[in-house]
Amino acid sequence: MPKLQNIFKVISNEKLCPKFYRLCIDAKPILKDILPGQFVHLRTSNGLEPFFRRPFSVYRAVKYVEVFYEAVGLGTQQMSRMKKGDTIDVLGPVGTPFTLPGPDIKEVVMIAGGIGIAPFLILSDVLKKRKDLQLTLLYGGRTGGHVYPMKEFKQNGVRIHIATDDGSRGVKGRVNKLFDRIKPDPKTTIVYTCGPNPMMAVVQEFAKKHSLKGEAACEEVMACALGACLGCSIRTTKGFKTVCYDGPVFNLNEVIFDH
């Protein structure tokens, strides 16, 4: 009964590197409504297995709705088998988007871990229009073998710093090894982060230390994605908040990552 449940056609489903795919959906009716940080809730099978839909950040919403995903389990494996012309049941866009930087902000630092890079391409697509903004991406990945489509980030004028666990690309180590690449100023810098909770916890500390404003795009297992079941709640300093409706984007300083 939500306005935003639609059956759309798959335009392409490209394998970018082992386990990482880019799904392109022809979704004109919703294309223009999508804001950076919002997500779509996809039905990966018409059957009961897996039982829930699966949530995915919108990676890009220019001509098509694009999703950048990693095949980690049954649902994403089913997605990886989708082909041009297949239909897909899409619920969305849903969720609270990133708050775009105010006029006083001069530097936007996007800190991503692994697949957490997904919501940042659409964010840079939007922010590149603001010529006064310096966009920086600190990206931490497992290994260089996973070559993410950094090209598009570059085209958006994003400064990119990479760290990999095995050092096969960029600096060896976690993303915090890249913090020294930025000169944060509380008044003019804003941080956006998305990735595993332990990583975002580190980013939270870093932001606190330099008293930076910031936002975090969080994850939790979801059923409805409409704020109906209250199943995707996480802890925040303001009590339990639903990731699908109150989030997925939260004030970085309010999220309690210890769960």
Binding site: F51, L91, G227, H259
Partner: protein
């Protein structure tokens, strides 16, 4: 074709509603024109005082179903009446308000609060929510069920529906106790208490340790309980448990349910309730039925 059904003094245009806790009415998302087609709406259970609910993780997928341990997160009666009820009323679909008290007195206060409210059709007593750390649920005890339903009937000016738990030895006994106490309707089933263990961490996946099992996995058990209850009581029964499609809903109606509620399915296919309504009409057309009453309880149970 007449699809309307009655529970006590309340009339519903069709027998399809949404199960409590599975339909959060977010104006910004829902298409009101579609929601208007529902026979009734049952909002999430309301308690006397606001509850923040259980710690995460609150839900987990299971084979053909899910566990939930939400802990009845809700704004409390006053908060609900002030901030949520108005928008529910705006929809214009009959409302069945689900209430739960942690003791008789709380139930009593809840009843009085909702007596003072206009524009609701019935009250559903959640006697069966398994996620509040009670040792024994009211719905597991015929005496307690009888006592509470009688008290609610003596106070409430609205029809009273008793919602039962499947975690019982004899569902017929509980249903009978509720009917004897004056319940205008019986709704079932709530979820089965259950748990999933993460073998990596050796902890229960749910923050609340146990949760409630729902979805298609439990449907065959739900159909049988609805059949047993429908042939035991004279008051109307609202059947639920794993309804995903019209075919599923028809099983409950044929078994004797006067209404059906779509729950977990809303999360997988938010349009399920509307598809169920359409499918029931189609089935009645194919079978040349003019009134839903011809369908309700139409099971051929020679081999029972």
């Amino acid at each position: 074709m007449n699809l309307s059904v009655k529970i006590g003094s309340a009339t519903f245009n069709n027998p399809v509603t949404v199960a409590s806790g599975t339909f959060g009415h977010a104006e910004k998302y829902y298409d009101l024109e579609e929601v208007k087609k529902l026979g009734a709406i049952v909002p999430k259970t309301v308690t006397l005082y606001a509850q923040e609910g259980n710690p995460p993780q609150r839900i987990v997928e299971t084979p053909s179903g899910m566990l939930n341990a939400i802990g009845i997160e809700n704004p409390g009666a006053d908060g609900f009446i002030k901030n949520k009820l108005p928008s529910f009323k705006k929809i214009g679909v009959p409302l069945i308000i689900s209430i739960l008290g942690h003791n008789d007195d709380q139930f009593e206060q809840l009843a009085k609060k909702f007596n003072d409210v206009e524009g609701i059709s019935a009250i559903e007593l959640n006697l069966s929510c398994p996620n509040l750390g009670h040792k024994v649920l009211v719905a597991q005890d015929p005496q307690a069920t009888h006592r509470l339903v009688s008290k609610m009937k003596s106070i409430l000016r609205y029809p009273v529906i008793a919602k039962l738990s499947p975690d019982v030895t004899d569902i017929k006994e509980i249903a009978k106790a509720a009917e004897d106490a004056g319940a205008d309707g019986i709704s079932l089933i709530n979820t089965f208490t259950a748990m999933v263990i993460d073998v990596k961490t050796r902890r229960s996946v749910l923050g609340n340790f146990t949760g409630g099992l729902s979805g298609p996995a439990i449907r065959p058990a739900a159909v049988r309980m609805v059949y047993d209850v429908a042939k035991t009581v004279k008051v109307p029964v609202i059947g639920m448990g794993g309804i995903m499609t019209a075919q599923d809903a028809l099983q409950f109606l044929i078994a004797g349910a006067s209404m059906v509620a779509v729950g977990t399915a809303n999360f997988v296919n938010p349009r399920a309730p509307l598809e169920v309504i359409e499918g029931i009409k189609e089935y009645m057309r194919e079978n040349k039925m003019k009134d839903i009453k011809e369908l309700i309880g139409s099971i051929n149970n020679k081999n029972a």
